[in-house]
Subunit: 145 residues, 2 copies
Amino acid sequence: MAADDLPALLLSAARGLVDSIDAGVRARGFTDVRPAHGFAFTLISGGGATVVELARHLDVTKQAASQMVEELISKGYVDRRPHPADARARLIVLTERGWACTRAADEAAAEILASWSTLIGDRRLTALRADLAKLAVPGRLRPTW
Amino acid sequence: MAADDLPALLLSAARGLVDSIDAGVRARGFTDVRPAHGFAFTLISGGGATVVELARHLDVTKQAASQMVEELISKGYVDRRPHPADARARLIVLTERGWACTRAADEAAAEILASWSTLIGDRRLTALRADLAKLAVPGRLRPTW
DNA sequence: ACTATATAGTCAATGAGCTTGACTACAGGG
DNA sequence: CCCTGTAGTCAAGCTCATTGACTATATAGT
């Protein structure tokens, strides 16, 4: 196999994707959120989550997750509700603003994917997704390296 | 086009790749380096670089790049030499330890790519690289989101 | 039912890495 | 030769994460 720059290309594509989605979200008026918040929204949008679940999802400590929740509450994106089955826990859910931001991110992502489709074609994009599905590591999401 | 989880898969694969390379480098005895240092080595290994060039490559301020150089010097990975053509600048070059670490990273990366080759096949891996080359954004490298 | 241990969450202090601002030293064109 | 621009460093501060300690609730074992 030839000397490979695949790692650099993969990193560059990932960075470009995140930057583009972030730019799209900001362009839609949500200027006080970071990409990391989007990773949180992804989990919370699925029926809510606890702080500990969020911490695991983001691969940070529960203290860090708690701080992020506090920040998102103060910015109006999420809300705390009592957990229906555990008095210790609290269920974090999206507010209407949180949902709007999530939709904005989805729209931005769809735009990027559409541009990618014109770049390499729909067939290649589907194949790319299939290949990446085999290479992706389950569980690990948040970069921050 | 179907609702796509391609962004998540791409991020996950990128994160898995970086984590694996980092683990491989540590397993080879270099426990005091971070992935970001690898991005620096990539530039410096090509005949040396100045602090400002490094800053541009890593997409950080020159102050941050200067601090990283200071750290890498104290750990014995790089060295400062007077710049042959500019008395203001200094040429940052790899020490023998820096080269050894770079080789370790290359070995680790080759290992991961080999495992990927067994996962999706050599042909698909080549196609993947070609597609990513079209999607990658030139210049942008360091994530840190 | 009662203790013992584990888990959910928060508060406080600290740290790593990056930024802005200000400065010195040298470069290079009018 | 000045005058503007660039290379680099010093210092201070910010942001986001960490570790440590604690309270409240859950759950298993006897």
